[in-house]
Symmetry: C3
Subunit: 429 residues, 3 copies
């Protein structure tokens, strides 16, 4: 093995020993791991890629039995065995369930399905998966009216997902659920602010470490004065918000919510640029797309209005990645967070990580999060990231004389763990 390959290998071993914090996932607190192979194969990466490769949506109809559905899906998945996503599946099957093949086929899936079922019945399964993945804690995505009592805060960190509150506040159902959970009657801008304060406070009490939202491409955050928010919110209460005024209402709520982040010292995780429902023919969760040329510029009024709130930003389009890096480079309240969705591909991760390491303070990089729906994927996704990180640190940091091997490992520790602990004020377990 060459010297540089050996260096990469040594770094990887160190990096695999770092207990990671996963700051963004969609893991359901009550069903955090797969009970069946179907649960794993139901991840939208597989269904959307198989559908994209020609599989009909009927193939994966919920009422089809495993014995029919799974072989059909796996046949379709032959077309995607080149992808990083496919490799996640093989990796977790091998590492967590003793799967011994390099491809999952209609002929070898049954022992794996059995292993998944059996493992699901083992005690402390969630912990076991996280141990195998060397992940300490996993952030959840919780709606404002979710029951937070049920969450095992030894393993999970709640996070208030604010998309409904901000973008659908004109819907009575959203307002009613906010009233129900906070006990605040919504009658004007003031009461809205109070309700948001109650809500964020309640999340904080239950261990929440951040608020999160996904913003559409081209989103423009316009400061809305308190009086103006009151006026438009009262119109919303009467169901009289015209479509052209909805943007102002949403901006107003976004600013009011961010003010609560400031009040309760919670970072705001903002994912920018998903065009929702762009492909209506797609499978569930396989209908959204990035938009090339999108920019963070529209977010500046929000970022500038709350210099005391830490914004952990993620973007979806490659054409914005360097812009995001520049924001992290000069804005004190911007942290770069992970490699999201369509950019969570090794080639992009490697490029983006290299540029970030060369130009953004190391304390402002949250290296990675899983975005997963089931805990098993953390192993494979973080595994992929750890390998890219080891490679980039070996080639671009140590070999180019930026620092020592020890310093490289310290950077890795910041990216995988310590920055998250500090930024989200978690206890170091």
């Amino acid at each position: 093995m060459s010297h540089s390959k050996q260096l990469e290998q040594r770094l990887l071993e160190e990096i695999e020993g770092i207990r990671a914090i996963d700051v963004h996932s969609h893991v359901p607190a009550r069903e955090p791991f797969a009970r069946s192979l179907r649960d794993l194969l139901g991840y939208h990466y597989y269904t959307e890629l198989a559908h994209s490769a020609g599989m009909s949506k009927e193939t994966i109809a919920p009422d089809r039995p495993d014995d029919e559905m799974i072989p059909d899906l796996l046949r379709a998945m032959e077309a995607i065995d080149n992808t990083a996503q496919y490799r996640w599946l093989v990796e977790l099957a091998q590492e967590l369930f003793g799967f011994e093949h390099g491809r999952l086929t209609p002929h070898n899936w049954q022992p794996l399905a059995r292993a998944v079922r059996e493992a699901a019945d083992e005690p402390d399964r969630a912990s076991a998966i996280l141990d195998a993945s060397n992940i300490e804690k996993v952030f959840l995505t919780n709606s404002h009216d979710e029951d937070l009592e049920a969450i095992d805060t030894d393993l999970f960190v709640p996070c208030l997902r604010a998309d409904d509150l901000v973008f659908r506040i004109e819907q009575p159902a959203v307002r009613h659920s906010l009233e129900a959970v906070t006990g605040v009657g919504l009658s004007d801008g003031d009461s809205l602010t109070r309700a948001l304060g109650e809500l964020v406070g309640r999340f904080r009490e239950h261990g929440a470490a951040s608020v999160a939202i996904s913003l559409p491409p081209g989103f423009s955050a316009e400061p809305v004065a308190d009086g103006a928010l009151d006026t438009i919110f009262q119109r919303a209460l009467r169901g009289e918000v015209a479509p052209q005024d909805a943007a102002m209402l949403h901006s107003g709520v976004l600013f009011a919510l961010t003010a609560q982040c400031a009040e309760h010292a919670l970072p705001f995780q903002v994912m920018c640029g998903a065009l929702r429902g762009a492909y209506p023919h797609g499978v569930h969760q396989g209908r959204d797309l990035p938009v090339a040329g999108d920019t963070l510029r529209g977010l500046l009024p929000l970022l500038n209005a709350f210099p005391g709130v830490t914004f952990c930003l993620s973007v979806l389009s490659d054409s914005q990645v360097q812009e995001l890096g520049s924001y992290g480079w000069i804005l004190q309240n911007v942290v770069l967070s992970g490699h999201w969705w369509y950019l969570n591909v090794p080639e992009h991760v490697a490029r983006d990580l290299t540029a970030r390491l060369q130009s953004v303070p190391k304390t402002k990089l949250i290296g990675y999060y899983s975005d997963m729906y089931k805990l098993e994927f953390g192993l494979a996704k973080f595994g992929m990231y750890r390998r890219v990180l080891a490679r980039v640190l070996a080639r671009e940091f140590v070999s180019r004389g930026y620092g020592t091997e020890r310093q490289a490992v310290e950077i890795a520790r910041l990216l995988l763990r310590e920055n998250a602990l500090r930024i989200f004020r978690l206890e170091d377990g």
Copy 2:
């Protein structure tokens, strides 16, 4: 040689053995290969780069004799001997004409010129070039009123180029030629649909395997109801389409033509983003540019309206490449096609290919097409691509554990040949 270099070499040998399909070119069916060195040097890459480097347009005036023009052009081309395009020229000169130097100069061009002339007189020259290039078939670009009888369909595949039909249908000359070739009098929207149906049917009968169009940056495809198309087309017949309505007319024709692709089961090759005539001082074919930040978003209504039509998409701007990848990732009817024009540069090809292989079904990647005007360039362009493909598969696929060497070769076979055969329903020769 290192192990990884040896792996790359072995893969390259396998890849060079794959008989490629070239799905897009501008080769003229009657003059498919060069009759003179001038024909080769007349490729716009050389004239535009030499002009860009300072050569006046008069240098390459058609009436200047070879003995004057060629040395002058070659002197100007010293400034471009660093480029991939220059290397194409050297490579094809070496491989097809026994040229022995690494640079083509005013002092060594004459034997090459003689070799080109002599080779042009050899029997079955087109076949010989394709054999040397290991290319089986080459798609042409045929205008709607072209004589399709003259095409040697053993070597070539016709393709209907639809730019005039869609974007210049308001010009009487375009309509008259459409009427002449289809025998359908154009009097309303209905007759337009019939004429397009006749036309596409006629192309299909002559072995055409696709329709192709080039769309301008920022193109927005707006569905136009049948009645609305009828109204606006009748205005066009009367010469009364206002400039601001032309976009609606063009969208209407585009949808009507795409409906015929659906009807006749023909894929639609769409090249997105060339700003035509951006640099009027440029040489012939050297006046168009990409536009940074362009997006495919405006194409979504078309892609969604025809889920049964396969769209083979190419883009011109690096800032759209990842967006295109995401489209191929989830849209069943989108195929990623080649590396077009300003992106047909090894650095971009390598990056883009790597990300595609990591995230798009392998069955949805048409690896490469030549876009050439003379067959000789297929050798050099596909040669360049084969080397990049071998490198990327060695480094990013096999060495990173994504699959075996044999699986890598199978992927190469899909990208160079089998996907094109399947998608365009060609017979496997």
Copy 3:
């Protein structure tokens, strides 16, 4: 060492022997080098990155003594020791001041501070720094009313910075200073043209080799007829330019100034895409950002209107880099210049340089400029670039068969020196 590493090393030695021309800097002619460590640490890269990493602006208040300020700043800079910018500092400290550590800390800065002070008193210090950096000449950035007599033209090349003239001509102070320096009373469009002519002529006489300007994102250059410029400029003289007409005024002045570049055969250095004041909380010079998806398209009218003026273009957003390459590829009057600001990061430099070398005439690439404020940084910045250049030429040019080692060195000589000499018509010293 591997063969390819040896090749890279040999190329680097040759490249380090090339005496570079630095075509863009902000070095002040009267204070070209640092008199104190504070001068070096005051470079905005360090203050903005340290501020971004959490340091308060008060930490670097001008009235704080070195003994307090410097240790505090260095403590904050621990968070940025991963960056390329940090490495510049270490490299210049080691090479120019005998600093022996890999990190600059609150505990080891004092000997360095002493070395900087002592070196500042040495005779011919500016020359000595340039010799150590192997840089022959450094372009300055001079406002239109600057005293050009004071400039040592053995070391420096004046350059007229035109931002005020073009974008703030409606301000009386700008016009008055233009009148003062040219002796032309501004009363109409004609007198404006005369004043600009006088000004550019005066700069030319004092050895200026170019005009330079920075354009905002989305800038659209609209040709303004002489009569229209006269009308709007007269309105400006009366203080009656409405905000919506300012763009027309600025475009008019820009075209008039470019006409003087044509008249006086001066290249125009244009830096595109800085969004000024985007982050008002930032430190001095740390408030501007790139905008993703920005495009050069709006510049085409200017580029096309003056085919005889050489435009040396730089961009700020990664999403424009390939567009810029395409402009250099076909536009005779466009030269690609360096790697600017947020793109001056090794990962971006390497990628962009590779694509440029593969697709743009080698005579049209100004490889690099420092953009520095103090001469010391030239050593480190050019040092970084020379290493990237050696690596790219070794890996992408020589090893891939594009040319010989000798040809690679000749390309490097063009990029670092000869293109600048030719384009700016400097004497070859």
